[in-house]
């Protein structure tokens, strides 16, 4: 430890936060608090989807203190990403992509609240492979943070020890901080910029969780006359119990599989009808995921 200098270390962390601050902005959420957005590239900003009110123009406060109007280009609940386009071209830097992170690596969460810079510091707590969000989004890496960051940091950049961007800070269950990785945001932002929304897979059925003896599944409560479920011969009262041979215990698990990349795919649903099991092959349709 002889050459470790605590105050130099402290300054280094503060310098990283200060360097990223000009990329950040702040906006008021519908819950009377502020959340953070940050410049992605080409004048587009990224924010946490759930913090952004639908269909409203957003007042962004830049780190300079200037306020600008921003348009909501689109939102992707499957990755928690919203894309904003402020009017004019705010002079904000873009953050470089971070390299691989491992548990224990330093993580610096940066935020902005009404123009004032925020920073919180901790470590990457856990890193895992790709996973699927409840709304069917493919999240390229699973990164949990051991960082004590409050609500105002939501949607802010999470940086590594070089000041490079690991991803965006979001909250999972019990308000645990997690990172939406850079490459996932990159994909979502490209789709939102092109189409203004992301797709979700569509069955065209109203589903309700049901438990009948040992059977857990999703009962068909309603059908879209022009939807894939009806076309495949599903009936009201059918209970969907599996998806391509894997058990699906209810609507939640089906929705998780109907993500943006499911549209157009063919799937074999295991269905119980009148106590009998049968397989129904269905081509997944597409709807905008709002």
């Amino acid at each position: 430890m002889s050459d470790f200098n605590l105050s130099a270390f402290s300054d280094a962390v503060a310098d990283i936060a200060a360097a990223a601050a000009p990329a950040t902005a702040s906006f008021a959420t519908h819950q009377h608090r502020t959340a953070t957005a940050f410049h992605w590239r080409d004048g587009y900003f990224i924010a946490a989807e759930e913090a952004v009110e639908a269909g409203e123009e957003i007042d962004l406060t830049l780190s300079s203190g200037d306020k600008v109007k921003a348009e909501l280009v689109g939102r992707d609940p499957s990755t928690g990403t919203a894309l904003l386009k402020p009017t004019g071209a705010p002079d904000a830097p873009s953050l470089a992509k971070a390299g691989t992170v491992r548990p224990g690596h330093l993580a610096i969460a940066v935020g902005n609240s009404d123009g004032a810079g925020l920073a919180a510091f901790g470590t990457v707590g856990e890193v895992g492979p790709a996973w699927r969000s409840m709304r069917g989004g493919t999240i390229d890496r699973r990164i949990n943070l051991a960082v004590n960051a409050g609500g105002r940091f939501e949607g802010g950049p999470v940086l590594d020890a070089k000041g490079a961007l690991i991803g965006m800070l979001l909250f999972g269950p019990r308000r645990r901080a997690l990172v939406m990785p850079y490459e996932t945001i990159e994909r979502a932002a490209a789709t939102l910029r092109e189409k203004g929304h992301v797709a979700r897979g569509y069955l065209g059925a109203g589903l309700h969780p049901i438990r009948n003896g040992d059977t857990h599944g999703a009962m068909v409560m309603s059908l879209d006359d022009n939807g894939p479920a009806k076309a495949a011969g599903l009936h009201l009262g059918d209970i969907i119990v599996s998806w391509d041979g894997e058990a699906a215990h209810g609507p939640r698990e089906l929705i998780r599989r109907l993500g943006p990349d499911s549209a157009g795919a063919s799937v074999t649903l295991g269905v119980e009808r009148g106590g009998e099991r049968r397989d129904v092959v269905l081509t997944i349709g597409e709807k905008p995921l709002n």
């Binding site: 759930e50 999972g172 269950p173 308000r175 569509y202 109203g206 309603s222």
Partner: protein, 221 residues
Amino acid sequence: MASHGITRRRLTILIALDDAVRAEHLSTALAATDDLLPIVAGSSDSGDRADVAIVDDNSLERRDLEGGGLEGAATDPAIPQVLLSQRGRRQRPADNVFAVLPAAADDLLIAAAARLAAAGYRISGEGRPLSDRHDDFAFHDDDLSDEEPVDDRAGRPPLSPRESEVLALLAEGAPNKVIARRLNISVHTAKFHVAAILIKLGAANRTDAIAIAMRQGLVLV
């Protein structure tokens, strides 16, 4: 039209919050509706009998300590209360607390809760706090409450036909402006319906409302 049959006369809403600035702000927002008449506790006319009281943790606690000292009419145990709480609800709220909302709840959400409470609906779902639901990014299944049990909705009022129409448009991603245009209603009324839907479904926001509605068969999957 905002007054859609819940009540004809204006509901008197007593606002008894510790945060005076918030109380004023909320009062202004409620006064802008055409069916609510807000009164801030401690003001001269707060003695009138209120239909609903909006309280927070502190004003509620102070009343408990002082054995009924909450200003004016809110002490009347018969008055339904909407609690704006900063705490997770571990304890069952008192009988006259008809709704528990997060402290930072939107004014429209509070208005919707007040209307429902005045109409006698209890909207505090067991074990389902209305805020801070971040289930979308649950990795472990044990992070989630299981599939909504069938009786989850038992204590919740059903959606009105109009609210169902609004929900269907919400699920298509329509912003308030588009909902208003499609249903030929004002943007204000559209917001009002959206707020009522959030309350009734116990949703934290629009996205959450759609996710809940999808899991309950209210929106096509």
